[in-house]
Symmetry: C2
Subunit: 324 residues, 2 copies
């Protein structure tokens, strides 16, 4: 964690207070942090890079951006059934950003670290002539051998999902003024789903505690593409019933008047819900926490969508092309 010009002061002023409570961070004064998983636990590690105006909107509030950077990584921990421990943050701030921007970013980051019980263990701060970027690495703990994985789905399993899908992609469209006539409360709901994802840590803990064979991942890139990853890892196929996909009132109000918006529900990313496959009994045991949306087949690599009229089509990553 090399310090460049001005970095040391920046860290001390804005980030060290966030880190002070955890001895692992060594007060951010060292080259590295030191930590241990609790006895009988393994370390789960995940990393996500986010670039301004590619993965987040640079015009958004810095504190919201900070929270998104943290939360997308916590969602990856949730996908593995891990309880968050700490994070290290690499930040490349565009050279024209103000100190106030960084201060607001640090403030939001600190608030979210506190509310999710996560410690900032260190990082690296650099200045870039290009777009601002962040790379967060998050660490969580899971009882040894109990991490949720993508490669555990079997033909005959059912496929379920937490929460509702499509909200974030529709929220991004709202922010781009694509639905000017949408009810203000519904619009605000969708925007919030895009700007401030809620990692499914509680639901993840329930899955991990169930101690049954469950395959899991988070829906970050869109249902279609993420289903394909479960297929690849588990060597299976998936079939999804479009009618069964849980929608928020806001999303429903949009797809009811514009059928083409289903593409956003099926292929839009950033929802950060959990996609879970398991035996019908094991999924039923999860109760109201999830909605069953389909099943696992032995048609390796094929993700099929059963439409409202009962017709089946192969689901492309971009959404659905056309029914057969």
């Amino acid at each position: 964690m090399a310090a460049r010009s001005g970095e040391f002061e920046l860290i001390a002023r804005h980030f060290a207070p966030i880190a002070q409570s955890d001895p692992a961070a060594l007060s951010l004064k060292d080259d590295a942090a030191v930590f241990s998983p609790p006895a009988g636990h393994e370390v789960v590690v995940t990393t996500d890079a986010l670039v301004a105006d590619v993965h987040f909107r640079s015009i958004d509030d810095p504190d919201l951006i900070a929270k998104k950077v943290l939360r997308v990584n916590l969602s990856d921990l949730a996908a593995m059934g891990a309880k968050p421990g700490g994070v290290v943050l690499s930040a490349g701030y565009n050279r024209d950003l103000s100190d106030e921007w960084v201060e607001q970013f640090a403030k939001g980051f600190g608030q979210d670290c506190k509310s999710f019980g996560v410690s900032l263990w260190g990082g690296d701060t650099v200045v870039t002539p290009g777009p601002t970027f962040f790379s967060l690495t998050a660490f969580g703990y899971v009882p040894a051998g109990r991490a949720l994985r993508r490669d555990m789905a079997k033909p005959g399993d059912v496929l379920a999902v937490t929460g509702t899908l499509g909200d974030a992609a529709l929220g991004q469209a709202v922010l781009n003024d694509e639905f000017p006539d949408l009810d203000k409360d519904l619009a605000a709901y969708l925007q919030d789903r895009y700007l401030l994802p809620k990692p499914r840590l509680d639901e993840s803990a329930v899955c991990a505690a169930a101690n049954t064979r469950l395959a899991a991942m988070d829906v970050s890139d869109g249902l279609a593409g993420d289903c394909r990853k479960i297929c690849a890892a588990s060597n299976v196929g998936l079939v999804i019933n479009r009618d069964a996909i849980p929608l928020s009132d806001a999303a429903k109000s949009i797809v009811d008047v514009d059928e083409s918006q289903w593409e956003r529900v099926l292929a839009g990313g950033d929802d950060y819900e959990l996609l879970i496959a398991g035996s019908p009994d094991d999924i039923a045991a999860l109760g109201d926490m999830v909605t069953v949306i389909g099943g696992v087949t032995d048609e390796v690599g094929t993700v099929s969508l059963v439409g409202v009229d009962g017709k089946t089509a192969e689901l492309a990553d971009s959404g659905f092309d056309h029914f057969k």
Copy 2:
């Protein structure tokens, strides 16, 4: 670790083969990696961000860049006395980079992972309209409570350093054609020291095994600035004898004819040598591995340089300003 357009294929083709040997990586198919430190050990974690044409030269060979990205992080592990375990790599490739560039990068990265016994556990690959950037997070293991830290120096300690200082900064100057008359072998030596740092992992292991009170860090930002960090962390002062600073034949041939080049030795970064403070006996026990260059004082926060003529000056981060 969300996959963006094309990322999944890129990872599969170039990076998955590097990761295949370690089960922690879950074949890079999951959201995260899972690992455990050996019994009785803690995890040391460090992260470094590098931006093209800020921290590395984009015109250099991609395989050399890859090795530098890895090695600067391994040097941070060395600074903590940790044995490398695995790494996760966030990469933001400029959208105009060729697939061959990425392939060469992955090749160099894989070679170095192998030679340092490090596993690639995962990462995130994105495309950016700005300069290419990398953020590597490295994990090492250290016996519990034995990590080397910056805050362990005490007045009366001696200050020592591995290898030679100034080579990397002078090597960068060579690459910028600042010493056209320099002997070709010496020039090549200096360039290599800049392009391909050698993390002091063996020396670090000796320090950690000594199990004595040693303060340590790696010289990544230049001797002057890095000394100041030991002062801040340990609440001490430092005094350095310029005459005692170990120089390579190449560096000596430069400063002997141009006194002003001492500034590069004192303030230039990228040497990745270890800076170690400890009792005279404990440092002596390290033998030929280190050279004593000064001592630790109770003048908190002051880094002094004793010049060739015995005069003392305060050493600024930028090198030395002027003697009193």
